[in-house]
């Protein structure tokens, strides 16, 4: 069991191997493992972010759709209301127009009646004068009895 210079040589060899490992193996591998760890962590974070973004987008989509539905319903309701209003207005207008026409017709009729009455009155007075002339066998001067005739006319 001789201790000899091999000991020193082996110690030097050990030192050289440590230097090689510390310089060319450990830091390089450690850096690559760390880089992969970071990459995986980033990937997971990105996936998580993507998931939450998707959920957000879904939520937004749902909100937009709901809004659109509400708006469509509102528009439909407005349209219905407008239609109803229009119909109502048309009805009202038609009624007014009808009333007006009826009123005009009535006024005309009344006018007609008045006119007929007037002419009737005139005719009646003429007829009365003519009748009185016949009865009296002489000419009645309408001028002379104008006042009287007017009175009769007024009574009619």
């Amino acid at each position: 069991m001789n201790i000899n210079f091999t000991l020193v040589m082996q110690a030097i060899a050990f030192f050289v191997f440590i230097v090689l490992t510390a310089k060319y193996v450990w830091p390089i591998m450690a850096a690559k493992i760390d880089a992969r760890q970071k990459m995986i962590a980033d990937g997971l974070a990105a996936a998580e972010r993507g998931r939450s973004e998707l959920a957000n987008a879904e939520k937004q989509t749902a909100a937009v759709i709901a809004e659109a539905k509400a708006k469509a319903q509102e528009i439909v309701a407005q349209g219905e209301k407008f239609r109803a209003d229009t119909v109502e207005a048309a009805k009202r207008e038609a009624k007014v127009e009808a009333d007006r026409i009826v009123a005009a017709a009535k006024a005309e009729i009344e006018q007609e009646v008045a006119r007929a009455k007037e002419s009737l009155r005139t005719q009646v007075s003429t007829l009365a004068v003519a009748g009185a002339g016949k009865i009296l066998q002489r000419e009645v001067d309408p001028q002379a009895h104008a006042a009287l005739l007017r009175e009769i006319q007024g009574q009619l």
Binding site: N4, T6, Q10, I18, L20
Partner: protein
Amino acid sequence: MAEVTELTPSEYISHHLTFDTVGIFGHDATSFWAINVDTLVMTVIAAVISFGFLMWMAKKATSGVPSKTQAFVEHWLAVIDDSVRGIYHGDSKLVAPIALTAFVLVFMLNCFDFLPVDIMSWIYANVFHAHYWRSVPTADINTTFALALSVFGMMIYYSIKVKGLGGWGHELISAPFGLRAHWSAPLLIIANVLFQIIEYVSKPLSHSLRLFGNLYAGEIIFMLLGMLAAAAAGWAVVAGILHVLWALFHILIVLLQAYIFMMLSIVYISMAHEHH
């Protein structure tokens, strides 16, 4: 081996346990100035395979989807990183690479124990013309002492770095019994220093001898089974079965000793960071 019948059992064992030692600087092979060529060559082979693989992997590795090989390497890096984080709370970036190096190196060197001793010694003798050649560098006390003393050196380095030379010196005379302004102060200092010496000596000793002992014993048992196989044809079958069982059990020992060595390295280095 063909010559087994000519060897006595003790010659067989000692033949397998002899290093290919070469004297350097003109000294004799038995002096301190000698190197075990087999230990160094096997270490270099293991290192080229393992650290070459790791460096190639680091270069090729992607931070995207990893290949299965990369996943395998990353798994072991994560195991070691977790072990280091669990024990070591200092801020040196060097402890994890030290732990990785210790683990990979000790594991690879231990793995040479799986090479069948007699077939390998035939190959060493007839292909490489090396009469004495031992396959397992961690069964060489020089290797385990070298590793343990390197860790010991890091312990001292980190102790001084974290606490300062004064803080470390103060700890040597004040721990574990404390220091009081009292007539007993010199006694306390002596007791503290003694305890510190025991602690500092026992750490590298147990660190290196545990690994050495396990691998050396493993090697010896393979050799004993080889001898048993040489005894008779019937024993060869028994020895073959035992050989397989021991090899299977050895997979656990090889991995476990590498892990223990790494963990103790981390523990010793992180203990050096603690203030008493």
